[in-house]
Symmetry: C2
Subunit: 262 residues, 2 copies
């Protein structure tokens, strides 16, 4: 019989804890070559060390077990590389976002927040091409990027968020670009009507990581005047990441639809 490794030996060889190894067995990620039917003892083969080493590294990278399973199921080295490279890019993006967050945190703790000017504006109904999807807050950034890339150039970008989008953390979001007249449907793109509304509008300067400052200011403004919210919130992306990488130049109008003030 070939060399059989008890779980403790295998643990020492792979630097994976026994608890982790049992868990990987339970979920079918790394199944022992042999399990004694009487005692339940797990026995591994030396040839399983390689898989264990790959698993350990992917877990160190924070990859979920489901994805790790997929990587191991892929025999092709090229595909494996692609999946791993994609994961690393995601991590690099997260660090860049983290650095931006730190900067924003510093400005929040340092200085008094610059006052926000709120303007009232009545807009009439407008025709637009739009993409509608049920989106969760966590996936919003990625969805936003994809949607506007599909909508293409050609007009001021805007989006509608249900008033309870933030309560629920999810909801039907519409990304749109106004058009003069109806155009044929293509892909996810449909013609929609952006409804008329009375809006309380504040312009947010800077990246969207900071947009809660403008939401906060707008919220205080609206609450102090006891104006009710009426319909979905809209954002107008005057200058966005699609225009320039320089976040300090980004401009977003945040628009809360309100009851007409008496």
């Amino acid at each position: 019989m070939r060399t059989r490794l008890a779980i403790g030996d295998f643990s020492r060889m792979t630097l994976l804890s026994v608890k982790a190894l049992r868990h990987y067995h339970d979920v079918g990620l790394l199944v022992p070559a042999e399990v004694d039917p009487a005692s339940g003892y797990r026995f591994y083969q030396p040839s399983q060390v390689g898989d264990a080493q790959v698993i350990r590294r992917l877990r160190d990278l924070g990859m979920p077990l489901d994805e790790v399973k997929q990587v191991l199921a892929t025999a092709d080295v090229e595909t494996r590389h692609t999946v791993i490279a994609a994961h690393l890019r995601r991590m690099e993006g997260e660090l860049a976002a983290a650095q931006a967050t730190v900067a924003s945190l510093r400005s929040l703790l340092d200085g008094p927040t610059s006052p926000v000017t709120v303007e009232h504006r009545s807009v009439s109904a407008t025709l637009a091409v739009g993409i509608t999807d049920r989106v969760s807050a966590a996936d919003l950034d990625e969805w936003w990027d994809g949607a506007f890339r599909e909508l293409g150039q050609g007009g001021p970008r805007g989006a509608l968020y249900p008033a309870d989008f933030f309560q629920l953390g999810t909801g039907d979001v519409i990304a749109y670009i106004p058009v003069a007249e109806a155009v044929p449907t293509r892909g996810r793109v449909r013609v929609i009507e952006v409804p008329a509304a009375d809006l309380a509008v504040a312009v947010h300067a800077g990246g969207l990581g900071d947009v809660d400052r403008t939401y906060g200011a707008l919220g205080v403004y609206v609450a102090e005047r006891e104006i009710g919210l009426d319909g979905p919130i809209r954002e107008h992306y005057l200058v966005s990441a699609l225009d320039t990488a320089d976040e300090s130049r980004h401009r977003t109008e945040v628009c809360w639809p309100v009851f007409r003030v008496a």
Copy 2:
């Protein structure tokens, strides 16, 4: 009465989900200014928006709620900055480690692993100065660094790990440096005796992120020869991160104490 904000309004203003806000109330991180005793309705004040914005950013950075609570409890802006900067440095370190892991993963997937040479060696008992602590595998790197900085220069560095350290994920680890004769105790440093042993030794070339490859090879070698493990595993840090930042130049002897071969 001042402006009272229901949880939904506050959620819209802070971009925190209602579920998150209730959770922050439960754990005492962000307590509503007022709670209606009859209905249980939570009401927030506009002045609480600032704290909420700080919380959101710190959570985006992956800071645990306990630490967030400490940051908020610290009125001093300087101290806050220090805590946050320390957190950012941790994240940067993690990214660097992630990049190293990706490199090691590539080499693991690409090529056949270079063969490891195993040498037998009998060592006699040695006097040493050492630091002993109960360490968990997750904290090992940080502990290792602190221990050897306290032990100082002056001899070849080594460490002893209980044979079941990896099974349990924790155990009493000893970092040591051999000495010719006993010296006075200072700080955590004690004089110890490193016991005599018969060792199966393999030299690991490169950073310790890859050391599982050498553990694996050593494990296969020992298992195939049906040699038993006898006492704590030792590592000798011939060239380490304390000597050079160039990981390719690092050398570590991994030593498994074995039963004398008949």
